[in-house]
Symmetry: C2
Subunit: 544 residues, 2 copies
């Protein structure tokens, strides 16, 4: 991965001139052309703090070639891919950075590494794909003498597939593309496609309660989790694969979402299903976001939801058209919408997957319900365009940053009856916070996941960067949105997890007693408090 | 409820002569006619141990009329409805019994009662419908000076219904029939129908991770749980209703299954759905249990499972026919099965619920798949017979006990690939354990719930009681079955919960680290260790 941005460095692109002009119009201020940035060789790095004895013990624990403390390894495990992370990397000052990177080859080696770290007072940051957008892999040492990134790259692959029971056992560090490739060979799919798909790992998804773009159909990772193995400083927890159980509280759901704070997820048993033979992605136009939300609620409560359902609000719909560069396709679409009096309408993408008969029947039923809400079919081109670009946003973010544009996303979820209020509150909070700083934003939103009882809202906001105050500008917007979410009684995160960025708002959701429970478990499983300091609940990593 | 057995005392019945003869044939030994048993007035009860100061404080905390320590109240809160409970009640010696019964009228009063109990060192047993079959409400005082039953009868009713979000807020003590009545008035259903339906409460279901007979379609209670409120000695935990969240580990799933050991569930937000307009219950015959299991696996993995699916093994099928009393219906059915060469086959009940078009389509698809496995349609009579008797088994149990027959049930779940091995192991274990004591049993089994990755097995076993050694006989069978379940790597309980009876086997499932986590949470939420001693994990209630 590009060291200071997203993805394949060869895929780095710049914004089209038309897009830059449109952004200047929308966001004000001149666009800026950053230089080529700092090269990895030019990056500043604090000196490593690993004492010699700890280093020797780690080398022994991690196994041959399992420990690195060279510049390249430390820089590449120094940050996730959130906006503050990118600001830090682009500044060329990679601080904090881990003092070393361990890459144990199996669960026993993970346990040995944790033992060394507990003994030597080193913090440990489990590192899967490094794609966290909430500061989840920031190498915070807390009150420890140093910090180790524990890469899961050595624990990868499909360990077992029980075809009869539709259950796959995947090593924690397995990248999602590898999981899908190996499952596809046997005719199966996990159906888990977050935007970070190209780099995210199975264990990282479980640790963050991830939802993929098709999770309306295939289920969130926590819903697919049947068994899990966690290596904690205090020992190993093996929860075997089970369809269901009433044997006390569900500890699998204590591991899912534990964000490296309780231990390292070395293996997961996940529900899989037959690869779909038919995939049909299509677009619909709706008169407004409210009508669209009502339509989607009706679909999901009737059991007729597609695997992928994404309804953009009016602003996101317009921006999607703008960002597509004003090419022929979008001009035709725009004209078509105008003709149908949906010029200011909302775009809905529906993705149907399954066997042909099943997809046919559900599409038919879905179309019938959507038309009741005035939806107009746009055919497959918008669906195909969405599919083609489904993992492109993080690349676009780099191009926007090059242009001096702050771009960030955040997500939440609420009941259907609270959704509109939540939407308005968050949008207003972001707009007010950024306009108040003289950088009026574009705020875009889409419904990204459907449930019978509610849905998620996924916000994207962009504003001209405030040179020299980029982080404060971001923090102001982030805080305003988070306060609005909490005030609306919604969840602070639907699928990005808590990490560093959402910590101040977790207690509003779990209550004091809830945080105390997590702190109590952490104290038993991680008595030295070495696991991923500064993440999840504030009480979890209070000074010992 | 009948004080020493199940249900409406007016519905007490005796076994038909033909059934008694058949049981004598199957189980050996003469059948016995017990007397009318001990009347509640004749029951022996240990003296109450409530100190005067504690009593006064409890009266103040529980509110007017909220505390009783008369014989009737103490006896009626002294036991659940498991086999050991019934033995104890029928013996006429009601020991242990709670020293008093508190019935607080709201969550604040629950908190006040817990505060008094923490201060005075009194154990607290939350008591919903009192239907536990695993000793979950046994009034064990542990190392405390006394034990209070905390009845949830004062916290009842539908508190809110968010129709748009298909979410109902129900007070913890709401009996399921009341919940269904109130929801039905608004056109909704929870769809939760355990065999204990007539008495079980919403909070009790959540506390035990209950599954109802239609949970294949409507979902287990833990799957329907969106929010929950728990009053613990250390404070109150309110987890608001959410469709989904990635804000750390899912604490709702720590409360679900907590069995009164962590606190009192005073309210639950649960997913509901529109009441089905069409209900179609039907029977199918399959050549054998293995073929039937394969058929059900295919159905559920194809997304074509009915709401209710129950496949009896060969022994249960025959016994069902026998217990139906050899009436005309069963004779016709038997003749029909013989004709179809399924005389030794297995009975499958499928219950389809939904709107007419949906039920029609799914039944059609289900029938197509079932026929692939040689299933023969038996029409609606077996389905209607099952529906009519769906809550009758506990009444029948009393009649069998009157006849000197031990009857007990236990349940487990496993992956599809492990199901047959689990089935054989448990059946053999029960048979060997009881035959070894000179009381060869009838062991019956059915698949009761379907999941994409596996299914549950529900065993019923009957044997002639060993007079004077009834409990030891039961314990021998129970232990043998539990050891077999653990050896097969399956869960010790699919929906009955852990309670007192499954405690020795919980650690095999959660591991030491898992139990330690629960103990750590308990210590924070219940520092004085007063909540439901002797239940769930052994480490949770170890002497302080």
């Amino acid at each position: 991965m590009r060291w200071d941005g997203w993805g394949d460095p060869g895929r780095r692109t710049a914004l089209a001139p038309g897009v830059r002009r449109a952004l200047s119009r929308e966001l004000g201020g001149p666009s800026r052309t950053e230089g080529t940035g700092v090269s990895i060789d030019g990056a500043e790095l604090p000196p490593g703090r690993l004492p010699g004895t700890a280093r020797a013990a780690l080398v022994a624990a991690a196994g041959p070639g399992g420990l690195r403390d060279d510049r390249g390894a430390r820089i590449r495990h120094a940050a996730g891919r959130g906006y503050p992370d990118l600001l830090r990397l682009r500044s060329g000052r990679v601080d904090p950075a881990p003092d070393a990177v361990a890459t144990p080859a199996d669960a026993d080696a993970v346990a040995a590494v944790l033992e060394v770290c507990s003994g030597h007072g080193l913090a440990v940051v489990p590192f899967g794909g490094g794609t966290s957008v909430v500061g989840g892999v920031e190498p915070i040492s807390g009150d420890h003498a140093g910090v180790l990134a524990l890469s899961l790259a050595g624990l990868s692959g499909l360990r077992a597939l029980d075809e009869r029971s539709a259950t796959a056992t995947l090593a924690g560090g397995t990248p999602l593309p590898e999981a899908e490739r190996e499952l596809a060979r046997r005719g199966f799919t996990l159906g888990h496609f977050p935007q970070s798909f190209e780099y995210a790992t199975v264990g990282g998804c479980v640790a963050t309660r991830s939802a993929g773009q098709a999770s309306t159909g295939y289920g969130r990772i926590d819903e697919l989790l049947r068994g899990v193995e966690l290596v904690a400083p205090a020992g190993r927890l093996t929860l075997g694969a089970r369809p269901a159980s009433a044997a006390g509280p569900e500890l699998r759901q204590l591991v899912a979402g534990s964000e490296g704070v309780l231990g390292v997820i070395v293996s997961a048993d996940v529900e899989v299903c037959q690869r779909p033979l038919t995939r049909h992605y299509e677009g619909w136009a709706l008169a407004g976001f409210r009508e669209g939300a009502d339509a989607l609620r009706t679909l999901v409560q009737a059991g007729a939801a597609p695997e992928v359902a994404r309804l953009s609000d009016e602003a996101e719909t317009q921006t999607t058209l703008m960002l597509s560069g004003g090419g022929t396709g979008s001009a035709v679409l725009r004209g078509y919408l105008r003709l149908r009096r949906l010029a200011d309408g909302c775009l809905l993408i529906c993705g149907w997957e399954g066997d042909a008969a099943d997809v046919g029947r559900r599409r038919h039923e879905g179309a019938r319900l959507l038309r009741r809400f005035g939806a107009v079919a746009l055919g497959t081109p918008p669906g195909q365009a969405w599919e083609a670009g489904r993992y492109a946003a993080p690349y676009l973010r780099d191009a926007l940053l090059d242009d001096g544009v702050m771009v960030e996303t955040l997500e939440t979820a609420s009941s259907w009856s609270g959704l509109e209020r939540l939407y308005l509150r968050v949008r207003t909070a972001l707009t007010d916070a950024l306009a108040g700083r003289g950088t009026p934003p574009l705020v875009l939103c889409h419904i990204s996941h459907l449930y019978r009882t509610g849905a998620s809202l996924y916000f994207t906001f962009m504003a001209r960067q405030q040179p020299g105050a980029e982080l404060a500008q971001w923090q102001a917007a982030k805080s305003a949105a988070s306060e609005a979410i909490v005030a609306a009684g919604a969840t602070i995160t639907h699928h990005h997890a808590v990490g560093r960025d959402h910590r101040p708002w977790l207690e509003a959701e779990t209550g004091a007693l809830g945080l105390q429970a997590l702190a109590a478990v952490k104290q038993r499983w991680d008595p030295a408090g070495i696991m991923n300091p500064g993440k999840l609940g504030s009480q979890l990593t209070a000074p010992r």
